[in-house]
């Protein structure tokens, strides 16, 4: 059993199951089996998933529809964001 997404313990079998249901992009696999939805946001598994799609569908990796990158870059707490907002407001006043 190969683990593909180590944040959320998604295995290669699960990724293959998603491809069997018609998924052809990294985003679809992310939505169906959650590979890449953990705290690292797919930094590790994005490339692995891409390789699996490329292998299974016999398309070059460069032709696979690119996934969406979403903010924030790394996990941030609400308190940190609130503090940042206060700092901005102080600077403006």
């Amino acid at each position: 059993m190969k683990v593909i997404c180590r944040c959320l313990d998604v295995t290669e079998d699960e990724v293959l199951a998603a491809i069997r249901q018609g998924a052809t992009t990294i985003d679809e696999i992310r939505r169906l089996v959650r590979a890449g939805m953990g705290s690292c946001q797919g930094r590790t598994c994005r490339r692995l998933v891409s390789q699996i799609i490329s292998r299974e569908l016999k398309t070059p990796a460069a032709e696979i529809y690119p996934p969406t990158f979403r903010p924030p870059n790394r996990p941030v707490s609400f308190s940190l964001i609130n503090a940042e907002l206060e700092r901005h407001e102080d600077e403006e006043s």
């Binding site: 959320l8 249901q21 018609g22 998924a23 052809t24 992009t25 985003d27 679809e28 939505r31 169906l32 959650r34 939805m37 953990g38 705290s39 946001q41 969406t68 979403r70 903010p71 924030p72 996990p75 941030v76 707490s77 609400f78 308190s79 964001i81 609130n82 940042e84 907002l85």
Partner: protein
């Protein structure tokens, strides 16, 4: 490749695939769904995933009750796990005005047979710990509401529809429409032309564009609606929490992350779905006001989707007068996922068996052309 069908559905969101499935189940299996990107890539896949029966209008409440009854057995019927979970909905009242409105809503909902009650702040805190009870006066609580995973529900319907013979063509963008002697001709960016005597508009935020292609006005305006999710944590609470005054909703997914979103009245009309820093600041402020103890939770991801608004925040359903056999299922104003199971069934029965439905008649697009006696749905975030 087959291009002639008995019905073509534009849009591969929850409305599109559930309608396709219900059509096939009612006996019309020669159906094709056209989707611009992949399944649930639009509003469906970006939504909060809740389903509730607590509405301010009778039509919505009835539709939602039928939907939930259907959702309760959907996993069994479609043979797919959807993370369906009846964790309830807790709607918070912050002012006396809201209290009065909610009392009215609850009275109507109970008359329709819904198990819903008004609870005081202490009981509310038992249901949702961490809640800042100083802010709330009362809350309404329905334990049979809940949430579901939108991607999985869409996939469940799609798989079941395919098994019945429905074709789903992904990465196919509709670029033009024409009607000639009772046949719709559908032009796509793939260069393939499709033909069908029956056409469904399930294009969500792009429904107006689809209507324009046939020279009819479908008064649906898309607005961006942003949402975020935190890292997975241990179970905090089960229900979806909504506050119309603070302007947010929050639920904990089965996987542990807390999903929350808010409406922004300053949002312009448009189909832009990028993320903004403004949302992160505002959401964080509102969330920590309602849940001060949870300010150490970390946000892992934010995104946005489209609310397809109509003037009265209720959907546009059924056939239109100008063009025969052109059915609408759009303008759900942010509540397509929770109404789709009932709506798709009604539409399919109407299209295949000619069965009339009062609900669909009352939600015909005509009411928006008249725009005088519109009763706006008040329970919208």
């Amino acid at each position: 490749m087959k291009t002639r069908f008995d019905a073509i559905i534009i849009g591969g969101g929850i409305l599109g695939v559930s309608t396709a499935y219900e059509l096939a189940k009612a006996g019309m299996t020669n159906v094709c769904v056209l989707e611009r990107h992949y399944l649930a890539s639009g509003s469906t896949g970006r939504c909060g995933g809740g389903f509730r029966q607590q509405w301010s209008t009778e039509t919505n409440t009835r539709l939602a009750m039928d939907s939930v009854a259907r959702l309760e057995m959907i996993e069994e019927e479609l043979g797919y796990r959807t993370e369906f979970f009846q964790g309830g909905y807790l709607i918070l009242a912050h002012s006396e005005e809201e209290e009065k409105q909610f009392a009215k809503n609850v009275e109507m909902q109970r008359r329709l047979g819904l198990n819903v009650e008004i609870v005081d702040p202490v009981e509310a805190k038992k249901i949702v710990p961490f809640l800042n009870t100083e802010l709330i006066k009362k809350a309404t609580w329905c334990p049979k509401d809940g949430h579901i995973n939108p991607f999985l529900l869409t996939q469940a319907y799609a798989n079941a529809a395919r098994r019945l013979g429905v074709e789903i063509h992904l990465w196919t963008n509709v670029t033009g429409l024409m009607k000639k002697s009772n046949t719709f001709f559908v032009m796509t960016d793939k260069g393939v032309h499709y033909e069908a005597p029956l056409l469904f508009n399930c294009a969500g935020g792009f429904s107006r564009t689809i209507g324009n292609m046939l020279n009819v006005e479908i008064p649906v305006d898309p607005y961006r609606h942003e949402i975020l999710v935190t890292e997975p944590v241990e179970r905090l609470w089960n229900p979806m929490v909504i506050s119309f005054s603070v302007g947010l909703y929050a639920r904990q997914e089965m996987s542990g992350g807390v999903v929350m979103g808010m409406g922004d009245p300053n949002e312009p009309v448009g189909t832009y779905v990028g993320s903004s820093m403004h949302f992160m600041y505002e959401m964080s402020k509102r969330f920590t006001r309602l849940f001060p103890k949870l300010d150490k939770l970390r946000i892992v991801r934010q995104w946005a989707g489209l609310y397809e608004m109509t003037a009265d925040a209720q959907p546009i359903l059924g056939p239109i007068d100008e063009i025969d056999n052109f059915y609408q299922a759009c303008g759900f104003s942010g509540h397509g996922l929770m109404l789709a199971p009932a709506v798709s069934q009604l539409l399919a029965n109407m299209a295949v068996h000619g069965k009339k439905s009062e609900v669909i008649d009352s939600l015909s697009v005509k009411r928006l052309y008249a725009l005088k006696d519109v009763v706006r749905e008040k329970s919208v975030v």
